[in-house]
Protein backbone atom coordinates (compact mmCIF):
# COMPACT_ATOMS: atom_id res chain seq x y z
CA UNK A 1 0.00 0.00 0.00
CA UNK A 2 0.86 3.65 -0.32
CA UNK A 3 2.80 5.78 2.11
CA UNK A 4 5.62 3.62 3.42
CA UNK A 5 8.18 6.18 2.25
CA UNK A 6 7.78 9.85 2.98
CA UNK A 7 9.14 12.03 0.20
CA UNK A 8 8.85 15.73 0.74
CA UNK A 9 7.65 16.39 -2.77
CA UNK A 10 5.73 19.54 -1.76
CA UNK A 11 8.94 21.22 -0.56
CA UNK A 12 10.78 19.97 -3.61
CA UNK A 13 8.26 21.71 -5.83
CA UNK A 14 8.25 24.95 -3.87
CA UNK A 15 12.03 25.11 -3.77
CA UNK A 16 12.19 24.47 -7.51
CA UNK A 17 9.70 27.27 -8.12
CA UNK A 18 11.85 29.61 -6.06
CA UNK A 19 15.17 28.71 -7.61
CA UNK A 20 13.81 28.98 -11.13
CA UNK A 21 12.34 32.44 -10.63
CA UNK A 22 15.21 34.07 -8.80
CA UNK A 23 14.51 37.61 -9.88
CA UNK A 24 10.91 37.66 -8.72
CA UNK A 25 11.90 35.94 -5.49
CA UNK A 26 14.68 38.45 -4.90
CA UNK A 27 12.32 41.38 -5.40
CA UNK A 28 9.77 39.95 -2.98
CA UNK A 29 12.46 39.12 -0.44
CA UNK A 30 13.90 42.61 -0.76
CA UNK A 31 10.50 44.02 0.17
CA UNK A 32 10.52 41.94 3.34
CA UNK A 33 14.12 42.91 4.04
CA UNK A 34 13.24 46.59 3.94
CA UNK A 35 10.05 46.08 5.92
CA UNK A 36 11.77 44.11 8.67
CA UNK A 37 14.76 46.42 8.81
CA UNK A 38 12.55 49.49 9.15
CA UNK A 39 10.27 47.79 11.65
CA UNK A 40 13.06 46.76 14.00
CA UNK A 41 15.03 49.93 13.46
CA UNK A 42 12.14 52.29 14.19
CA UNK A 43 11.03 50.35 17.22
CA UNK A 44 14.56 50.13 18.59
CA UNK A 45 14.87 53.85 18.12
CA UNK A 46 11.58 54.41 19.94
CA UNK A 47 12.74 52.15 22.75
CA UNK A 48 16.01 54.08 22.98
CA UNK A 49 14.14 57.38 23.08
CA UNK A 50 11.79 56.28 25.83
CA UNK A 51 14.65 54.91 27.85
CA UNK A 52 16.43 58.22 27.46
CA UNK A 53 13.36 60.21 28.38
CA UNK A 54 12.66 57.93 31.35
CA UNK A 55 16.24 58.45 32.44
CA UNK A 56 15.76 62.21 32.32
CA UNK A 57 12.59 61.88 34.37
CA UNK A 58 14.50 59.87 36.96
CA UNK A 59 17.00 62.70 37.39
CA UNK A 60 14.28 64.54 39.33
CA UNK A 61 11.68 61.95 40.25
CA UNK A 62 12.14 58.69 42.14
CA UNK A 63 10.44 55.54 40.90
CA UNK A 64 8.11 55.74 43.88
CA UNK A 65 7.57 58.53 46.40
CA UNK A 66 6.17 57.57 49.79
CA UNK A 67 4.59 60.44 51.71
CA UNK A 68 1.77 61.38 53.95
CA UNK A 69 -1.13 62.70 51.96
CA UNK A 70 -2.85 65.84 53.22
CA UNK A 71 -5.70 65.03 55.50
CA UNK A 72 -8.82 67.13 55.36
CA UNK A 73 -10.81 67.45 58.55
CA UNK A 74 -14.27 65.93 58.22
CA UNK A 75 -16.86 68.66 57.87
CA UNK A 76 -19.46 66.80 59.90
CA UNK A 77 -18.94 65.29 63.33
CA UNK A 78 -22.02 63.21 64.03
CA UNK A 79 -23.68 63.33 67.43
CA UNK A 80 -21.73 61.13 69.82
CA UNK A 81 -24.58 60.37 72.17
CA UNK A 82 -28.25 61.10 72.27
CA UNK A 83 -28.96 64.59 73.31
CA UNK A 84 -25.78 66.07 71.80
CA UNK A 85 -25.83 67.82 68.45
CA UNK A 86 -23.84 67.00 65.31
CA UNK A 87 -21.05 69.49 64.66
CA UNK A 88 -20.40 71.09 61.29
CA UNK A 89 -17.03 72.77 60.57
CA UNK A 90 -15.31 74.09 57.45
CA UNK A 91 -13.20 71.32 55.94
CA UNK A 92 -9.51 72.19 56.01
CA UNK A 93 -6.11 70.61 55.96
CA UNK A 94 -5.15 69.31 59.35
CA UNK A 95 -1.86 70.93 60.33
CA UNK A 96 1.04 68.61 61.02
CA UNK A 97 -0.54 65.94 58.84
CA UNK A 98 2.26 66.03 56.29
CA UNK A 99 4.89 64.12 58.19
CA UNK A 100 5.73 60.50 58.33
CA UNK A 101 5.36 59.64 61.96
CA UNK A 102 7.76 56.73 62.29
CA UNK A 103 10.25 57.37 59.51
CA UNK A 104 13.00 55.02 60.74
CA UNK A 105 10.63 52.09 60.95
CA UNK A 106 9.10 52.83 57.55
CA UNK A 107 12.54 53.20 56.00
CA UNK A 108 13.73 49.92 57.48
CA UNK A 109 10.58 48.20 56.26
CA UNK A 110 11.01 49.58 52.74
CA UNK A 111 14.65 48.56 52.59
CA UNK A 112 13.66 45.00 53.46
CA UNK A 113 11.54 44.68 50.34
CA UNK A 114 13.38 42.58 47.77
CA UNK A 115 12.43 44.76 44.81
CA UNK A 116 13.52 47.99 46.52
CA UNK A 117 17.00 49.13 45.49
CA UNK A 118 17.25 52.49 47.27
CA UNK A 119 15.02 54.09 49.89
CA UNK A 120 16.11 57.46 51.14
CA UNK A 121 14.41 60.15 53.28
CA UNK A 122 13.85 63.61 51.95
CA UNK A 123 12.70 66.93 53.36
CA UNK A 124 11.71 69.53 50.83
CA UNK A 125 11.62 73.19 51.89
CA UNK A 126 10.29 76.17 50.00
CA UNK A 127 12.88 78.89 50.42
CA UNK A 128 13.92 82.36 49.34
CA UNK A 129 17.50 82.87 48.32
CA UNK A 130 18.38 86.34 49.61
CA UNK A 131 20.84 88.64 47.92
CA UNK A 132 20.75 92.17 49.20
CA UNK A 133 17.22 93.31 48.51
CA UNK A 134 16.42 90.70 45.87
CA UNK A 135 14.81 87.46 46.81
CA UNK A 136 14.51 84.45 44.56
CA UNK A 137 11.92 81.82 45.34
CA UNK A 138 13.16 78.25 45.10
CA UNK A 139 13.21 74.83 46.62
CA UNK A 140 15.89 73.41 48.87
CA UNK A 141 15.88 69.68 48.89
CA UNK A 142 17.13 68.20 52.15
CA UNK A 143 18.71 64.85 51.37
CA UNK A 144 21.16 62.15 52.43
CA UNK A 145 23.41 63.27 49.62
CA UNK A 146 25.17 59.95 48.98
CA UNK A 147 21.89 58.08 48.56
CA UNK A 148 20.27 60.89 46.63
CA UNK A 149 23.26 60.85 44.29
CA UNK A 150 22.76 57.16 43.65
CA UNK A 151 19.15 57.83 42.87
CA UNK A 152 19.31 61.00 40.78
CA UNK A 153 22.93 60.86 39.52
CA UNK A 154 23.54 64.33 40.94
CA UNK A 155 27.32 64.02 40.63
CA UNK A 156 26.98 63.82 36.83
CA UNK A 157 25.53 67.33 36.86
CA UNK A 158 28.10 68.88 39.22
CA UNK A 159 30.14 71.57 37.47
CA UNK A 160 31.96 72.98 40.50
CA UNK A 161 32.68 71.57 43.94
CA UNK A 162 31.61 68.07 44.90
CA UNK A 163 29.05 65.84 46.51
CA UNK A 164 31.58 64.96 49.18
CA UNK A 165 31.92 68.62 50.17
CA UNK A 166 28.21 68.80 51.00
CA UNK A 167 28.50 65.71 53.13
CA UNK A 168 31.39 67.25 55.04
CA UNK A 169 29.81 70.67 55.53
CA UNK A 170 26.73 70.65 57.82
CA UNK A 171 25.50 74.00 56.46
CA UNK A 172 26.71 73.30 52.95
CA UNK A 173 24.61 73.78 49.89
CA UNK A 174 24.77 72.70 46.26
CA UNK A 175 23.06 75.27 44.07
CA UNK A 176 21.87 75.24 40.51
CA UNK A 177 24.00 77.34 38.16
CA UNK A 178 20.99 79.56 37.51
CA UNK A 179 20.61 80.35 41.19
CA UNK A 180 24.35 80.96 41.47
CA UNK A 181 24.47 83.42 38.59
CA UNK A 182 21.41 85.35 39.76
CA UNK A 183 22.84 85.59 43.25
CA UNK A 184 26.30 86.08 41.75
CA UNK A 185 27.88 83.63 44.13
CA UNK A 186 30.57 81.10 43.48
CA UNK A 187 31.76 78.04 45.33
CA UNK A 188 32.97 79.00 48.79
CA UNK A 189 30.65 82.02 49.15
CA UNK A 190 27.89 82.29 51.71
CA UNK A 191 24.25 82.67 50.91
CA UNK A 192 21.33 83.50 53.19
CA UNK A 193 18.10 81.60 52.80
CA UNK A 194 14.73 82.05 54.43
CA UNK A 195 12.24 79.24 54.72
CA UNK A 196 8.49 79.39 54.51
CA UNK A 197 8.51 79.00 58.29
CA UNK A 198 10.49 82.23 58.37
CA UNK A 199 13.69 80.64 59.59
CA UNK A 200 16.78 82.29 58.15
CA UNK A 201 20.04 80.42 57.81
CA UNK A 202 23.38 81.26 56.33
CA UNK A 203 24.52 78.48 54.02
CA UNK A 204 27.85 77.90 52.40
CA UNK A 205 27.95 77.16 48.67
CA UNK A 206 30.04 74.00 48.27
CA UNK A 207 29.26 73.30 44.66
CA UNK A 208 27.11 73.98 41.63
CA UNK A 209 25.19 71.73 39.34
CA UNK A 210 23.82 72.13 35.84
CA UNK A 211 20.99 69.90 34.65
CA UNK A 212 19.34 69.83 31.25
CA UNK A 213 16.46 71.80 32.67
CA UNK A 214 17.31 75.48 33.13
CA UNK A 215 14.25 76.05 35.28
CA UNK A 216 15.55 73.51 37.78
CA UNK A 217 18.94 75.20 37.69
CA UNK A 218 17.31 78.55 38.51
CA UNK A 219 15.38 77.33 41.56
CA UNK A 220 16.80 74.16 43.05
CA UNK A 221 19.44 73.49 45.64
CA UNK A 222 20.51 70.46 47.67
CA UNK A 223 21.19 70.77 51.39
CA UNK A 224 21.76 68.24 54.15
CA UNK A 225 18.55 66.79 55.53
CA UNK A 226 19.26 68.18 58.99
CA UNK A 227 19.53 71.75 57.67
CA UNK A 228 16.18 71.23 56.03
CA UNK A 229 14.68 70.03 59.32
CA UNK A 230 15.99 73.17 61.03
CA UNK A 231 14.56 75.34 58.28
CA UNK A 232 11.20 73.70 58.88
CA UNK A 233 11.58 73.86 62.64
CA UNK A 234 11.09 70.16 62.88
CA UNK A 235 12.49 67.43 65.09
CA UNK A 236 15.73 65.67 64.07
CA UNK A 237 13.77 62.63 62.92
CA UNK A 238 11.33 64.55 60.74
CA UNK A 239 10.85 63.18 57.22
CA UNK A 240 8.34 64.48 54.70
CA UNK A 241 8.93 62.00 51.88
CA UNK A 242 10.75 58.78 51.30
CA UNK A 243 12.08 58.32 47.78
CA UNK A 244 12.23 54.74 46.59
CA UNK A 245 13.88 53.22 43.54
CA UNK A 246 12.93 49.68 42.52
CA UNK A 247 14.63 47.12 40.32
CA UNK A 248 12.21 47.41 37.40
CA UNK A 249 10.75 50.85 37.05
CA UNK A 250 8.16 49.61 34.56
CA UNK A 251 6.54 47.73 37.41
CA UNK A 252 6.58 50.73 39.73
CA UNK A 253 2.78 51.17 39.63
CA UNK A 254 2.26 47.64 40.96
CA UNK A 255 4.97 48.00 43.60
CA UNK A 256 3.66 51.38 44.70
CA UNK A 257 0.35 49.77 45.64
CA UNK A 258 2.18 47.12 47.62
CA UNK A 259 4.32 49.70 49.39
CA UNK A 260 1.34 51.85 50.17
CA UNK A 261 -0.43 48.89 51.67
CA UNK A 262 2.68 47.89 53.58
CA UNK A 263 3.51 51.27 55.10
CA UNK A 264 0.07 52.82 55.40
CA UNK A 265 1.31 55.95 53.61
CA UNK A 266 0.58 57.12 50.15
CA UNK A 267 3.00 55.73 47.58
CA UNK A 268 2.95 57.48 44.25
CA UNK A 269 4.75 55.92 41.31
CA UNK A 270 6.53 57.94 38.66
CA UNK A 271 3.98 57.11 36.01
CA UNK A 272 1.19 58.58 38.11
CA UNK A 273 3.34 61.60 38.90
CA UNK A 274 4.20 62.19 35.22
CA UNK A 275 1.01 61.21 33.49
CA UNK A 276 1.40 63.59 30.57
CA UNK A 277 4.93 62.47 29.79
CA UNK A 278 3.98 58.82 30.10
CA UNK A 279 0.95 59.32 27.86
CA UNK A 280 3.07 61.15 25.28
CA UNK A 281 5.55 58.28 25.33
CA UNK A 282 2.79 55.76 24.87
CA UNK A 283 1.42 57.76 21.96
CA UNK A 284 4.84 57.80 20.32
CA UNK A 285 5.19 54.05 20.76
CA UNK A 286 1.77 53.40 19.26
CA UNK A 287 2.47 55.68 16.34
CA UNK A 288 5.80 54.09 15.53
CA UNK A 289 4.32 50.62 15.88
CA UNK A 290 1.53 51.58 13.55
CA UNK A 291 3.78 53.06 10.88
CA UNK A 292 6.35 50.28 10.98
CA UNK A 293 3.69 47.57 10.92
CA UNK A 294 2.15 49.23 7.87
CA UNK A 295 5.50 49.07 6.11
CA UNK A 296 5.79 45.39 7.01
CA UNK A 297 2.30 44.86 5.68
CA UNK A 298 3.26 46.45 2.38
CA UNK A 299 6.15 43.99 2.19
CA UNK A 300 3.60 41.26 2.76
CA UNK A 301 1.66 42.53 -0.22
CA UNK A 302 4.80 42.12 -2.31
CA UNK A 303 4.88 38.43 -1.50
CA UNK A 304 1.14 38.17 -1.96
CA UNK A 305 1.39 39.70 -5.43
CA UNK A 306 4.23 37.53 -6.57
CA UNK A 307 2.53 34.40 -5.31
CA UNK A 308 -0.69 35.37 -7.01
CA UNK A 309 1.22 35.86 -10.22
CA UNK A 310 3.01 32.53 -9.88
CA UNK A 311 -0.25 30.78 -9.21
CA UNK A 312 -1.93 32.31 -12.24
CA UNK A 313 1.03 31.30 -14.38
CA UNK A 314 1.08 27.79 -13.02
CA UNK A 315 -2.62 27.14 -12.92
CA UNK A 316 -2.23 24.28 -15.43
CA UNK A 317 0.46 22.66 -13.32
CA UNK A 318 -1.69 22.99 -10.23
CA UNK A 319 -4.54 21.33 -12.12
CA UNK A 320 -2.41 18.37 -13.21
CA UNK A 321 -0.96 17.98 -9.71
CA UNK A 322 -4.47 17.82 -8.33
CA UNK A 323 -5.47 15.36 -11.05
CA UNK A 324 -2.50 13.20 -10.10
CA UNK A 325 -3.67 13.04 -6.52
CA UNK A 326 -2.18 16.04 -4.73
CA UNK A 327 -4.55 17.13 -2.00
CA UNK A 328 -5.70 20.68 -1.40
CA UNK A 329 -3.41 20.84 1.61
CA UNK A 330 -0.41 19.78 -0.50
CA UNK A 331 -1.07 22.72 -2.79
CA UNK A 332 -1.41 25.05 0.21
CA UNK A 333 1.85 23.70 1.57
CA UNK A 334 3.68 24.21 -1.74
CA UNK A 335 2.80 27.89 -1.93
CA UNK A 336 2.87 28.76 1.76
CA UNK A 337 6.31 27.19 1.91
CA UNK A 338 7.36 29.26 -1.05
CA UNK A 339 6.14 32.40 0.72
CA UNK A 340 7.85 31.41 3.96
CA UNK A 341 11.15 30.74 2.20
CA UNK A 342 11.00 34.12 0.48
CA UNK A 343 9.99 35.72 3.78
CA UNK A 344 12.71 33.85 5.68
CA UNK A 345 15.44 35.05 3.35
CA UNK A 346 13.98 38.54 3.50
CA UNK A 347 13.89 38.47 7.29
CA UNK A 348 17.51 37.30 7.60
CA UNK A 349 18.74 40.09 5.35
CA UNK A 350 16.43 42.49 7.17
CA UNK A 351 18.07 41.59 10.47
CA UNK A 352 21.53 42.13 9.01
CA UNK A 353 20.42 45.38 7.46
CA UNK A 354 18.91 46.89 10.62
CA UNK A 355 21.81 45.66 12.75
CA UNK A 356 24.14 47.57 10.45
CA UNK A 357 21.98 50.68 10.68
CA UNK A 358 21.86 50.45 14.48
CA UNK A 359 25.61 49.84 14.60
CA UNK A 360 26.36 53.05 12.73
CA UNK A 361 23.65 55.22 14.26
CA UNK A 362 24.62 54.28 17.81
CA UNK A 363 28.06 55.72 17.02
CA UNK A 364 26.70 59.07 15.92
CA UNK A 365 27.33 61.79 18.50
CA UNK A 366 24.39 64.14 18.79
CA UNK A 367 25.68 66.20 21.71
CA UNK A 368 23.74 67.87 24.49
CA UNK A 369 23.14 65.74 27.51
CA UNK A 370 22.00 62.97 25.10
CA UNK A 371 25.52 62.23 23.92
CA UNK A 372 25.48 59.34 21.48
CA UNK A 373 22.32 58.59 19.56
CA UNK A 374 20.20 56.58 22.00
CA UNK A 375 19.75 53.34 20.06
CA UNK A 376 20.87 49.81 20.93
CA UNK A 377 20.16 46.29 19.72
CA UNK A 378 16.82 45.58 21.34
CA UNK A 379 16.28 41.80 21.59
CA UNK A 380 12.57 42.32 22.15
CA UNK A 381 12.22 44.34 18.94
CA UNK A 382 14.19 41.73 17.01
CA UNK A 383 11.93 39.00 18.34
CA UNK A 384 8.84 41.02 17.49
CA UNK A 385 10.15 41.87 14.03
CA UNK A 386 10.82 38.21 13.28
CA UNK A 387 7.46 37.15 14.66
CA UNK A 388 5.46 39.76 12.74
CA UNK A 389 7.54 39.09 9.63
CA UNK A 390 6.69 35.41 9.80
CA UNK A 391 3.02 36.09 10.46
CA UNK A 392 2.75 38.55 7.58
CA UNK A 393 4.53 36.22 5.14
CA UNK A 394 2.45 33.29 6.28
CA UNK A 395 -0.77 35.06 5.45
CA UNK A 396 0.68 36.60 2.29
CA UNK A 397 1.26 33.01 1.20
CA UNK A 398 -1.81 31.45 2.70
CA UNK A 399 -4.46 33.47 0.90
CA UNK A 400 -3.20 32.87 -2.65
CA UNK A 401 -2.34 29.27 -1.74
CA UNK A 402 -5.88 28.62 -0.60
CA UNK A 403 -7.13 29.97 -3.88
CA UNK A 404 -4.76 27.61 -5.70
CA UNK A 405 -5.91 24.70 -3.56
CA UNK A 406 -9.48 25.33 -4.63
CA UNK A 407 -8.67 25.22 -8.35
CA UNK A 408 -11.04 22.83 -10.09
CA UNK A 409 -8.82 20.81 -12.44
CA UNK A 410 -11.73 19.97 -14.74
CA UNK A 411 -12.35 23.63 -15.49
CA UNK A 412 -8.67 24.02 -16.43
CA UNK A 413 -8.50 20.93 -18.65
CA UNK A 414 -11.57 22.06 -20.57
CA UNK A 415 -9.81 25.18 -21.84
Amino acid sequence: MAGTHRHNIDSEISITYITTSRKLTAVAALGVTIGIAIYIFMNSMAAGFSRKSDASIFKNVPHIRVYKDDEISTPLSPATHSGSLPLIVNPRVIPESQKIINPDQVLALLKQQPEVVIATPQVGVDVFYNSGRTQIAGVASGVEIAEADKMFSISETIVEGSIQALKNTPNGMLVGVGVASKMSVKTGDNITITSSRNVTKVMKVVGMFKTSNSNTDKTKSYININSARQLKQESPSYVSDIDVNVKDYDHAPAYSQQLSFLTGYKAEDWKAANETLVAAGRMRTIMINFISLSILLVAGFGIYNILNMTINQKINEIAILKAMGFQGRDVVRIFVQQAMLIGGVGIIFGLLCCSTMIFFLSRVYVGGDIGYFPITYEPEMYARGILFGLIVTFFAGYFPARKAANVDPVSIFRK
Partner: protein
Amino acid sequence: MQPEIILQADKIGKYFYDPEKFRVLNDISFQVNRGEFVTLVGKSGSGKSTLLYILSTMDTDYDGLLTIQGERITGQQQQRLAALRNEKIGFVFQFHYLLPEFSCLRNVMIPALRLGKYSRKEIEERAYAKLKMLGLEDQALKLSAKLSGGQQQRVAIARALINDPLIIMGDEPTGNLDSKNTGIVFDILKDLAHHDQQTIVAVTHDNDFAQKSDRTIELQDGQVISTRKLY
Protein backbone atom coordinates in the same frame (compact mmCIF):
# COMPACT_ATOMS: atom_id res chain seq x y z
CA MET B 1 -12.82 -17.44 -15.73
CA GLN B 2 -15.00 -14.39 -15.03
CA PRO B 3 -13.23 -11.15 -16.06
CA GLU B 4 -12.74 -8.68 -13.17
CA ILE B 5 -14.87 -5.55 -13.52
CA ILE B 6 -12.66 -2.52 -13.00
CA LEU B 7 -14.90 0.36 -13.92
CA GLN B 8 -18.66 0.45 -13.67
CA ALA B 9 -20.91 3.34 -14.64
CA ASP B 10 -24.53 3.03 -13.60
CA LYS B 11 -27.09 5.49 -14.99
CA ILE B 12 -24.72 8.42 -14.93
CA GLY B 13 -26.36 11.73 -15.79
CA LYS B 14 -25.15 15.30 -15.71
CA TYR B 15 -26.60 18.72 -16.25
CA PHE B 16 -24.96 21.97 -17.17
CA TYR B 17 -26.75 25.10 -16.03
CA ASP B 18 -24.85 27.67 -18.02
CA PRO B 19 -26.21 29.39 -20.12
CA GLU B 20 -29.38 27.34 -19.53
CA LYS B 21 -30.13 23.99 -17.98
CA PHE B 22 -29.33 21.19 -20.36
CA ARG B 23 -28.59 17.52 -19.98
CA VAL B 24 -25.08 16.66 -21.22
CA LEU B 25 -25.12 13.03 -20.13
CA ASN B 26 -28.17 10.83 -20.02
CA ASP B 27 -28.27 7.56 -18.06
CA ILE B 28 -24.88 6.31 -19.16
CA SER B 29 -24.29 2.72 -18.10
CA PHE B 30 -21.43 0.43 -19.07
CA GLN B 31 -18.60 -1.50 -17.54
CA VAL B 32 -14.96 -2.05 -18.35
CA ASN B 33 -12.99 -5.16 -17.46
CA ARG B 34 -9.43 -5.51 -16.32
CA GLY B 35 -6.94 -5.45 -19.18
CA GLU B 36 -9.41 -3.96 -21.64
CA PHE B 37 -8.40 -1.19 -24.04
CA VAL B 38 -11.58 0.84 -24.50
CA THR B 39 -11.97 3.94 -26.64
CA LEU B 40 -14.72 6.57 -26.25
CA VAL B 41 -15.85 8.11 -29.52
CA GLY B 42 -18.56 10.43 -30.72
CA LYS B 43 -19.09 13.74 -32.44
CA SER B 44 -17.66 16.91 -31.01
CA GLY B 45 -19.86 18.09 -28.15
CA SER B 46 -21.39 14.67 -27.57
CA GLY B 47 -20.10 14.64 -23.95
CA LYS B 48 -17.00 12.40 -24.15
CA SER B 49 -14.72 14.66 -22.13
CA THR B 50 -17.47 15.36 -19.63
CA LEU B 51 -17.94 11.64 -19.11
CA LEU B 52 -14.23 10.99 -18.81
CA TYR B 53 -13.86 13.64 -16.08
CA ILE B 54 -16.61 11.90 -14.12
CA LEU B 55 -14.99 8.50 -14.59
CA SER B 56 -11.67 9.95 -13.48
CA THR B 57 -13.26 11.06 -10.13
CA MET B 58 -12.30 14.69 -10.73
CA ASP B 59 -15.88 15.76 -11.43
CA THR B 60 -18.17 14.81 -8.56
CA ASP B 61 -21.26 16.69 -9.62
CA TYR B 62 -23.39 14.04 -11.36
CA ASP B 63 -26.28 11.60 -10.85
CA GLY B 64 -25.95 7.84 -10.90
CA LEU B 65 -23.30 5.61 -9.49
CA LEU B 66 -19.65 5.09 -10.28
CA THR B 67 -17.67 2.11 -9.01
CA ILE B 68 -13.96 1.46 -9.45
CA GLN B 69 -12.66 -2.01 -8.63
CA GLY B 70 -15.71 -2.67 -6.46
CA GLU B 71 -15.29 0.55 -4.47
CA ARG B 72 -18.19 2.97 -4.57
CA ILE B 73 -16.76 6.28 -5.77
CA THR B 74 -19.90 8.39 -5.81
CA GLY B 75 -20.17 10.49 -2.67
CA GLN B 76 -16.58 9.96 -1.45
CA GLN B 77 -14.56 12.73 0.22
CA GLN B 78 -12.24 14.80 -2.01
CA GLN B 79 -9.31 13.63 0.06
CA ARG B 80 -10.04 9.96 -0.55
CA LEU B 81 -10.61 10.62 -4.25
CA ALA B 82 -7.25 12.36 -4.56
CA ALA B 83 -5.50 9.45 -2.87
CA LEU B 84 -7.32 7.04 -5.16
CA ARG B 85 -6.30 8.96 -8.28
CA ASN B 86 -2.72 9.06 -7.08
CA GLU B 87 -2.60 5.32 -6.64
CA LYS B 88 -4.95 3.90 -9.25
CA ILE B 89 -5.41 6.32 -12.14
CA GLY B 90 -2.94 7.66 -14.67
CA PHE B 91 -3.85 10.63 -16.85
CA VAL B 92 -2.85 11.62 -20.34
CA PHE B 93 -4.37 14.67 -21.98
CA GLN B 94 -4.15 16.19 -25.39
CA PHE B 95 -1.80 18.74 -23.85
CA HIS B 96 1.09 17.36 -21.82
CA TYR B 97 0.84 19.57 -18.68
CA LEU B 98 4.43 18.91 -17.69
CA LEU B 99 6.14 21.13 -15.09
CA PRO B 100 8.55 23.11 -17.27
CA GLU B 101 11.05 23.85 -14.48
CA PHE B 102 11.59 20.15 -13.81
CA SER B 103 13.65 17.70 -15.80
CA CYS B 104 11.77 14.93 -17.63
CA LEU B 105 12.92 12.42 -15.06
CA ARG B 106 11.67 14.48 -12.12
CA ASN B 107 8.37 15.14 -13.91
CA VAL B 108 7.86 11.41 -14.19
CA MET B 109 8.87 10.88 -10.56
CA ILE B 110 6.38 13.37 -9.05
CA PRO B 111 3.32 11.09 -8.72
CA ALA B 112 5.49 8.31 -7.27
CA LEU B 113 7.07 10.67 -4.75
CA ARG B 114 3.58 11.72 -3.77
CA LEU B 115 2.52 8.09 -3.34
CA GLY B 116 5.59 7.10 -1.34
CA LYS B 117 5.43 3.42 -2.13
CA TYR B 118 9.11 3.17 -3.07
CA SER B 119 12.34 4.77 -1.94
CA ARG B 120 13.62 7.72 -3.91
CA LYS B 121 16.30 5.62 -5.56
CA GLU B 122 13.80 2.98 -6.66
CA ILE B 123 11.49 5.69 -7.97
CA GLU B 124 14.30 7.19 -9.98
CA GLU B 125 15.14 3.81 -11.50
CA ARG B 126 11.52 3.10 -12.30
CA ALA B 127 11.05 6.52 -13.87
CA TYR B 128 14.12 6.00 -15.94
CA ALA B 129 12.81 2.61 -17.08
CA LYS B 130 9.48 4.15 -18.13
CA LEU B 131 11.28 6.85 -20.11
CA LYS B 132 13.39 4.19 -21.75
CA MET B 133 10.29 2.25 -22.67
CA LEU B 134 9.06 5.37 -24.46
CA GLY B 135 12.38 5.91 -26.17
CA LEU B 136 13.33 8.94 -24.12
CA GLU B 137 16.33 7.72 -22.13
CA ASP B 138 18.55 10.38 -23.74
CA GLN B 139 16.18 13.17 -22.71
CA ALA B 140 15.78 12.15 -19.06
CA LEU B 141 17.82 14.98 -17.57
CA LYS B 142 16.70 17.73 -19.93
CA LEU B 143 14.19 20.30 -18.78
CA SER B 144 10.80 19.20 -20.04
CA ALA B 145 10.29 22.60 -21.69
CA LYS B 146 13.24 21.89 -23.99
CA LEU B 147 11.64 18.85 -25.67
CA SER B 148 9.60 18.59 -28.87
CA GLY B 149 5.81 18.25 -28.66
CA GLY B 150 5.85 14.52 -29.38
CA GLN B 151 8.59 13.91 -26.83
CA GLN B 152 6.72 15.93 -24.21
CA GLN B 153 3.59 13.87 -24.81
CA ARG B 154 5.55 10.67 -24.29
CA VAL B 155 7.04 12.05 -21.04
CA ALA B 156 3.47 12.74 -19.93
CA ILE B 157 2.59 9.11 -20.72
CA ALA B 158 5.61 7.90 -18.73
CA ARG B 159 4.37 10.04 -15.83
CA ALA B 160 0.90 8.49 -16.10
CA LEU B 161 2.46 5.03 -15.88
CA ILE B 162 4.86 5.57 -13.00
CA ASN B 163 2.57 4.26 -10.24
CA ASP B 164 1.47 1.24 -12.32
CA PRO B 165 -2.10 2.51 -12.25
CA LEU B 166 -5.10 0.27 -12.46
CA ILE B 167 -6.65 2.51 -15.11
CA ILE B 168 -5.04 4.85 -17.59
CA MET B 169 -7.39 7.56 -18.78
CA GLY B 170 -6.69 9.65 -21.81
CA ASP B 171 -8.53 12.58 -23.40
CA GLU B 172 -7.30 12.52 -26.97
CA PRO B 173 -3.85 11.36 -25.85
CA THR B 174 -2.59 11.27 -29.41
CA GLY B 175 -4.45 14.40 -30.53
CA ASN B 176 -1.23 16.39 -30.96
CA LEU B 177 0.92 13.62 -32.38
CA ASP B 178 1.88 12.70 -35.93
CA SER B 179 0.95 9.27 -37.26
CA LYS B 180 4.32 7.74 -36.39
CA ASN B 181 4.16 8.86 -32.75
CA THR B 182 0.48 7.92 -32.60
CA GLY B 183 1.48 4.43 -33.65
CA ILE B 184 4.17 4.25 -30.95
CA VAL B 185 1.76 5.43 -28.23
CA PHE B 186 -0.94 3.03 -29.40
CA ASP B 187 1.43 0.07 -29.24
CA ILE B 188 2.56 1.04 -25.74
CA LEU B 189 -1.02 1.32 -24.49
CA LYS B 190 -2.02 -1.94 -26.10
CA ASP B 191 0.95 -3.68 -24.56
CA LEU B 192 0.09 -2.27 -21.11
CA ALA B 193 -3.45 -3.59 -21.45
CA HIS B 194 -2.70 -7.00 -22.84
CA HIS B 195 0.63 -7.69 -21.24
CA ASP B 196 0.39 -5.89 -17.86
CA GLN B 197 -3.38 -6.19 -17.44
CA GLN B 198 -3.81 -2.42 -17.01
CA THR B 199 -7.11 -0.96 -18.13
CA ILE B 200 -7.22 1.82 -20.70
CA VAL B 201 -10.07 4.25 -21.31
CA ALA B 202 -9.26 6.80 -23.98
CA VAL B 203 -11.32 9.43 -25.77
CA THR B 204 -10.27 9.71 -29.40
CA HIS B 205 -11.25 11.31 -32.67
CA ASP B 206 -8.90 9.06 -34.56
CA ASN B 207 -10.94 6.36 -36.30
CA ASP B 208 -7.91 4.22 -36.98
CA PHE B 209 -6.91 4.38 -33.31
CA ALA B 210 -10.44 3.47 -32.20
CA GLN B 211 -10.68 0.62 -34.65
CA LYS B 212 -7.52 -1.00 -33.37
CA SER B 213 -8.68 -0.83 -29.70
CA ASP B 214 -10.49 -3.73 -28.02
CA ARG B 215 -13.81 -2.03 -27.76
CA THR B 216 -15.42 1.29 -28.60
CA ILE B 217 -18.15 3.08 -26.68
CA GLU B 218 -19.94 5.60 -28.85
CA LEU B 219 -21.74 8.63 -27.47
CA GLN B 220 -24.30 10.76 -29.20
CA ASP B 221 -25.95 13.77 -27.56
CA GLY B 222 -25.06 12.49 -24.13
CA GLN B 223 -26.30 8.96 -24.68
CA VAL B 224 -24.47 5.71 -25.29
CA ILE B 225 -25.52 4.43 -28.67
CA SER B 226 -23.23 1.42 -28.62
CA THR B 227 -20.96 -0.16 -26.03
CA ARG B 228 -19.47 -3.04 -27.92
CA LYS B 229 -18.67 -1.76 -31.34
CA LEU B 230 -16.16 -4.34 -32.41
CA TYR B 231 -14.42 -3.79 -35.70
